[in-house]
Symmetry: C2
Subunit: 424 residues, 2 copies
Amino acid sequence: MAELNGNLLVAQSGGPTCVINASVAGVITEAGRHECIENIYGGLNGILGILNEEIVDLGDEKRSAVEGLKHTPAAALGTCRYKINFQKKPEQAAKDMDRLFEVFNAHNIRYFFYAGGNDSQDTAHKIHLEAVKRGYDMRVLGVPKTIDNDLPCTDHCPGYGSVVKYNCATVTEVGLDVGSMATDDGSCCIIEVMGRAAGWIAAGTVLAKQGNPANPPHIILLPEIPFDEDAFLARVKETVAAQKYCIVVCGEGLKDKQGEEIGADKTRLDAFGHAVLAGASEKLKEIVQGRLNLKTRTVLLGYAQRAAAHLASQTDSDEAFACGGAAVRAAVEGKSGFMPKIVRLSTNPYRWTIELEDLANIANVEHFIPRDWVSEDGFLPNEKFVEYAAPLIVGEVKVPYINGLPHYVTLDKSKVDKLLPPRA
Amino acid sequence: MAELNGNLLVAQSGGPTCVINASVAGVITEAGRHECIENIYGGLNGILGILNEEIVDLGDEKRSAVEGLKHTPAAALGTCRYKINFQKKPEQAAKDMDRLFEVFNAHNIRYFFYAGGNDSQDTAHKIHLEAVKRGYDMRVLGVPKTIDNDLPCTDHCPGYGSVVKYNCATVTEVGLDVGSMATDDGSCCIIEVMGRAAGWIAAGTVLAKQGNPANPPHIILLPEIPFDEDAFLARVKETVAAQKYCIVVCGEGLKDKQGEEIGADKTRLDAFGHAVLAGASEKLKEIVQGRLNLKTRTVLLGYAQRAAAHLASQTDSDEAFACGGAAVRAAVEGKSGFMPKIVRLSTNPYRWTIELEDLANIANVEHFIPRDWVSEDGFLPNEKFVEYAAPLIVGEVKVPYINGLPHYVTLDKSKVDKLLPPRA
């Protein structure tokens, strides 16, 4: 493979995580080791910013800032949910593609890295195919990122271990609180976590049990398993009789037997046309209070769970960083149209490596929890799940504190001069 | 003052905090230094457990467990919201008092410590007065505890610094997340925090700004300041125009101009007869989405915020521990009917000491944020507040981790034999 000289562009897409910046740090750090890569650029707000030629020079960033990206949550370059949709908006999509390649060409972008989840891998795949079609010599790699853990082919996704670690700590702490308040009346607390279609995040909180059935969470409701109200209430009652309290974790996308999301607000759709979810936990609270007359409170972690870098998993951060680096190495070696994936070599001790997966196998495919990783009654992930998830939350990312608060970095983002007329 | 020989009983009451166990550790540690204190007992679930003669021998606990209480959230001895109410239930109250003193007498309790907030200090005060009236020689001290920071006379309350530290970290992290997702449409996130009457907790999140007006939170809605919908929406709009996103923190007890809680569910009352609150943030979300057509999400931290010991303030933990110790020293010196209070000696550098306050001045008095500590428009605490609150979140409690999760202690709670017939 001939050496390809030119500039590198990295961008972030979709919902942020605690460690998507670690992947960018991995890209920057590895890129600095290859002479064929001339400038290291960042695209602001994913392809939306690239369409507007909003490019910054990451080579200008301080070394300490790049290092700090490893513990800084959210998307330091900004992100977007913009999608190039050839099915629904073919004209706009064709226009966008033309514009993207104008921008790539104007800035001699020969290495393009896009960190994101399912939709973003689809975008990366389309850009790769388009580059081939146009004969534009550019190596395109996706970098995996999603708290949802729903990308196929990879053992798990960077971002997942950290959200699970934080949510488990929260379940443990809330459990101690509710348990210590539980007098004879009993009480229930419902903790709603993210997870629209796949229940990986909710399932992950089973690790908070630390192998003790009496520990919270006592019930985990997954979007994959239709909600059975009577069975659920029976289990809550049973738990309160035994423990005096009950901690329930529910995925936001919990569905009834008809497949309707129990907390969906169908009046609003997001940019990808999915129903906006709000309130699975509030709905469950109504049910528990109404039918069991049991004091019930809710916790809605929302964005906090995917941004809680103060309690990120070191394993997760290391893997995210490694994925960024591996993407650059693969590109320099001539690969395009791939995504680095995490391959588990052994669970105990936990060992992993990184291999490449064809983006065609990743884009738009969702990966769900195998049914046999969940108890027959559907209320708790079983030992198979625990064995899988346990290593992913190990290790604590060290975050510096200033004035009692975690100190995160912001990039200088020195702008690269625009070379094109504004986007039409 | 003659030396008083006998047993010590400590109990916890009201909503837990991250550091109420640190106060118990302070009591146990100090009590071990005084020969006049024979056994160190704990009452389970506050006075409710004491009425049932549920007493454990804290002298039997491992040294490491007592040490671990300093970083363990919730109430290790259990807590309750039970109140001896002479106004509303005079017969029950008289019966309860008789029973309490039967228990004290049966177990030769001569030192009684009750850790809690306003209602609990009232209970401690009543027990002190009753002991005097009955001529039962016992020293009763309240130990301050409340995330709400609404006890009078003390500079601040143990528990407050930790909830503020965690909430500030959450605001910072959610702000980075929402900010990084904000494209031209803008977006808003409303973070609901505890605080029924006093807005100390909501106000504390102003520290997340770290002196930078552009940083979140951009608006803080306090229960003390009547909600002005139009002014609020104008401020949200202004903020989104400038920053592309807006982070709002609201106290759960936010009230409209008629004094009605905007999120109150008036169909339910808690044990003290207060309306159960749910959904100030959901209400605000409806308003922002409905009137500004702005994408809005909510975070409801609920119990998580007062139990998040993984991010507790070392200053807070030290002060809580010191209050427990000071209560014991005062009792041994012959004092009864007092509560240790924190007295600030200087702010910069932050120095504090502990003095005693008469429980008569504390019981049932609520302390609110001075109006001149909040900006004229009511949307942000000002420099006076920042100067006050900043030292309280400094320092990070070191929590041990096992398998990637914070490791908290549970007490053995070896039961003391019951000496009385069951409570009638």
